[in-house]
Amino acid sequence: MIESVLLWLFAGTALVAAALMLVLRHPMRVALALVATMLSLAGVYALLGVHVIAVFQVLIYVGAVMVFMVYAIMLLDVRDRSYTRRYSGLLVPGAAAAVLFLAILAHALWRELPRTADGEGGGAMFGLRVFSIDFLNEYWLHFELVSVLLVAAVVAALAVLEVGRRRRG
């Protein structure tokens, strides 16, 4: 009982914070809204019983990605033209399309409710032990590939910034 209330609460918070993202002016505030969303989602995951994913959500998303983002925001002068004029020229069409999109999704949901009842199902597969064993045994290829992906990302970042190029006079 309390679980569904909390679930609804966290889900609602996530949505509200996401909506706020679209309205706030200062990028720092937008970043904080996103952090709020992510934390709410972590809460949702925890309530669903998939603690591993919840922890990863906080550690990786909030702890690494958002920190990096905030760092970049603090580094830059964000009060430029995009500060005064928040919205692009496509505000109205974008909003309209979004409404249409949500309408279709609502229509689909209405006709065919997915079988997942909230909160049910097991987090059995999401136990840390089982997860680690499977990840390193069955899905070892994926594991290696993401390592490669991360290395590529680092190299790309260095290349973008042209680190290592001798400064010309």
Binding site: A72, Y87, L161
Partner: protein
Amino acid sequence: MLIATSWGLFALGLVGVIVRRNVLIMLMCMELMLNGVNLSLVAFAQQTATSAGAVLVFLVFVVATAEIAIAIPIVLLLARGKRGGLDLGAYADLKG
């Protein structure tokens, strides 16, 4: 309900990309989209008996990280450049 939430997050993220001008905010909206996707993955993965769902969620994390790792330096370069700064409405380099 969770599915509805995930879709809502995704839609908000996509609209945010369309609507906001600042490139950093657009990046953050893209993260929001990924989060929405993650939520729906988790919601569906609970039903299966394999751990494929968990692995996929983890992979999404990794991809998001890698993406940010590259995107931020690009944004930094943009900010350093003379024209437009962080306002994506001012760039039309892909025209034509």
